[in-house]
């Protein structure tokens, strides 16, 4: 069977919960820097040669700090698995990343305590913080997508034109900044030249000194400002000036690469959330909507997806497939084997979901590569369809398709399952791994059709929904879109102890904490919805209890996180043993180039050789040696390179 490379990038939220007596609150970048030190004291690591201050680990994976340009000191911690050849290994390496973070957490906290921090630090593996920030997991697959000759010519010409335009745009954008720096430097120089002779002559020109002082003050103000402000301004300027270019380049690429992949994989990716979604307790509803019971959707990231395929350039315009890696590495456009980057993927706590999710995607990719004929089941409007699929817990809502018919998420999944069973029924294509995946897929779809609760041990969203249901039990509870809006408005002002106050005291507290305008609006809203303050607070408390479950399910702390508590009670189907995960923390997969990277990291770090490493090369600075390992399935270094490394080790000894 044809081999494939699988990779997963997971972003973890860093939760900083300081106590009252804390004299220091670290930024997420501070946390990352200390985390890097702590991880380096447990595992062999080598600095990444790319930006983002990352390190590669002895298991061939990488972790780095990831932040938007407008908040460089904050952000998330991203772990990338090493290249794996199957989804089982991938799920285990992903689990190993979770465990590494949890393993070093206490030591990290102790180090922060020395700096004056009092409180808790923990990591979350989910996709949203309920404050408008989204993060999560991306999947990568090495797929065969050859370029036909005439397209190759168009691509060469197009890429050259687009990159020339990019350089011009960047230069134009930078001109005002460069001009400002130049003018300031010239002014300083002029001032220096004029100032000294005048002072020597005993003549002080008031104007010159005033200007000089003014410039010095200006520089002082600029340097005292938070760097985030600068990065925010320049980040926004850069984004605005290049956004049009990015989307037109994305449009151009879309006509030539991954055409088949995006066409036939999209309906599957939009509907696989029925088993791969990690579930989300909603904190807002569309105008006029009312939720009977828990406001819940299957996928945490459905709301953020705005298009099917483009270059991911702008946080507000996230695609299902991102073509961004073609900017970083334009040469790869012309290769027949390309990296397919799927951005739309929920972070899963349950490694079993990661296994089936990526495994089935791998099976379908192979079918598309081998020109299996699929029906075009793309929805008429894929983005609004995705929202509908995510909100439809029955999985039976009919969504209009481009071909004029309509289908539900469950029906689309069953169609793909049927096609996969046909394709993999031939003896030369079937293997134990494929057979197992198809069997599980079928079983999941059948269970979901009868009663999703049957899958509580296997699927994240089902396990979470069961917990949330336990809060509501048999109570009838409604949340209107307006009440959710007020929850958000009042979140910052409300205190936990208010829940136990009498109606009168409560009213007084609310009056004291709200502006006149908001107070009027709030009481008018209560009257309209026929609620007392006490009713409102009761709902408020239930709502935040639900939200807490929604978040704490994803906490990586093994004693605290709800997923781990369920796992401890035997309520989660485990894919890997402890031994598998321990092995994945220490050793790279043996069947990809990650094996070479792991060997290099371990050997060079052990012998304290000064080197930086990337996904496909290493630079040993002490000896000015550059070694490449470009082939993804290359397991060992060529003999001469291996001998060279061994000789370096001997010299160091």
């Amino acid at each position: 069977m044809k081999k494939r490379i699988y990779g997963l990038e997971t972003e973890y939220a860093v939760i900083i919960a300081p106590e009252h007596n804390s004299t220091f609150t670290p930024t997420r970048l501070n946390v990352f820097n200390i985390l890097r030190e702590v991880v380096a004291s447990h595992y062999k690591v080598l600095h990444s040669k790319e930006l983002k201050q990352g390190v590669f680990m002895q298991n061939g994976g990488r972790f780095h700090h990831e932040a938007c340009l407008n908040a460089l000191l904050e952000g998330v911690i991203e772990f990338s698995t090493p290249e794996c050849t199957n989804s089982r290994d991938l799920a285990i390496y992903s689990k190993a990343c979770d465990e590494i973070l949890e393993e070093v957490r206490e030591e990290l906290q102790e180090k922060l305590q020395y700096k004056g921090f009092r409180g808790n630090i923990f990591f979350g593996k989910n996709c949203t913080d309920k404050k408008g920030n989204f993060y999560g997991t991306h999947e990568n697959y090495l797929v065969c997508d050859p370029i036909i000759d005439y397209r190759r010519f168009i691509l060469y010409t197009g890429v050259t034109i687009f990159f020339s335009i990019f350089i011009i745009v960047v230069i134009i954008f930078n001109l005002p900044v460069l001009a400002c720096i130049l003018v300031l430097s010239l002014m300083l120089l002029l001032l220096g030249i004029l100032h000294l002779p005048l002072r020597l002559l005993g003549y002080t020109s008031h104007t010159i000194i005033e200007i000089g002082n003014g410039i010095i003050e200006l520089i002082k103000i600029m340097t005292s400002l938070k760097p985030t402000l600068f990065t925010r301004i320049f980040g926004e300027l850069f984004r605005c000036s290049t956004i049009l270019w990015a989307y037109s380049y994305g449009f151009f690429l879309r006509q030539l690469v991954f055409k088949k992949m995006t066409k036939f994989l999209t309906p599957y990716l939009l509907t696989r959330i029925i088993f791969s979604g990690s579930g989300r307790c909603l904190d807002s509803l569309p105008p006029g909507e009312m939720s009977k019971g828990i406001p819940f959707e299957l996928s945490q990231k459905a709301e953020t997806i705005k298009t099917v395929c483009t270059i991911f350039w702008d946080d507000y315009y996230k695609p299902v497939f991102s073509l961004k890696n073609f900017i970083k590495n334009p040469r790869s456009i012309f290769k027949s084997e390309k990296r397919l980057h799927i951005m739309y993927c929920d972070s899963n706590m349950n490694e079993f979901v990661t296994y089936i999710n990526t495994g089935i995607t791998g099976l379908l990719i192979r079918m598309i590569e081998e020109d299996h004929s699929f029906l075009d089941l793309n929805p008429k409007n894929p983005i609004s369809a995705l929202r509908e699929f995510s909100r439809d817990l029955t999985m039976r809502k009919q969504i209009p398709l481009k071909n004029g018919t309509s289908m539900s998420s469950l029906e689309i999944q069953k169609y793909y399952l049927g096609e996969a069973k046909k394709f993999y029924s031939s003896p030369e294509k079937v293997c134990e791994h494929t057979d197992n995946l198809l069997h599980i897929w079928e079983n999941i779809l059948n269970c979901l059709e009868i009663n999703p609760h049957l899958m509580y041990k296997e699927l994240d969203w089902v396990a979470k929904k069961d917990l949330l249901n336990e809060v509501i039990k048999d109570r009838e509870i409604f949340f209107s879109c307006n009440i959710l809006k007020w929850f958000k408005v009042l979140q910052g002002k409300f205190q936990q102890e208010w829940i136990f106050m009498s109606e009168e005291t409560l009213k007084k507290e609310i009056e004291r904490n709200l502006s006149i305008w908001n107070r009027k609006k709030f009481f008018a809203f209560l009257k309209k919805e026929d609620l007392t303050c006490q009713d409102f607070l009761e709902k408020f408390q239930i709502f935040y209890q639900l939200q807490k479950i929604d978040l704490k399910y994803h906490e990586l702390n093994k004693n605290e996180g709800y997923y781990y508590r369920l796992a401890k009670a035997g309520l989660i189907t485990m894919l890997s043993s402890e031994e598998d995960v321990t092995k994945a923390k220490l050793y790279p997969p043996h069947d990809t180039r990650a094996n070479i990277r792991g060997f290099l990291v371990k050997t060079l770090a052990e012998n304290s050789l000064n080197a930086v490493i990337g996904w496909d090369d290493v630079i040993i600075s002490d000896y000015a040696k550059h070694i490449y390992f470009l082939e993804p399935f290359e397991k060992e270094l060529p003999e001469n390179d291996r001998n060279y490394i061994n000789s370096l080790v001997k010299m160091e000894e």
């Binding site: 939220a13 904050e74 913080d129 920030n133 336990e470 009670a569 035997g570």
Partner: protein
Amino acid sequence: MEITLKEKTIKNQEQDTKKEIISTFAEIINDSNKEALKYVKNWKAPGGGE
């Protein structure tokens, strides 16, 4: 997963009524009620990824 649907349904039903399962759920629900608002407020990922 090498079991039939019927077997799975029965197995799940048996599991649901086990004492330790009920107590785990009760523990979680009890914990989720403690300082829920504070917990949600603390869960922040500014400048977060992608």
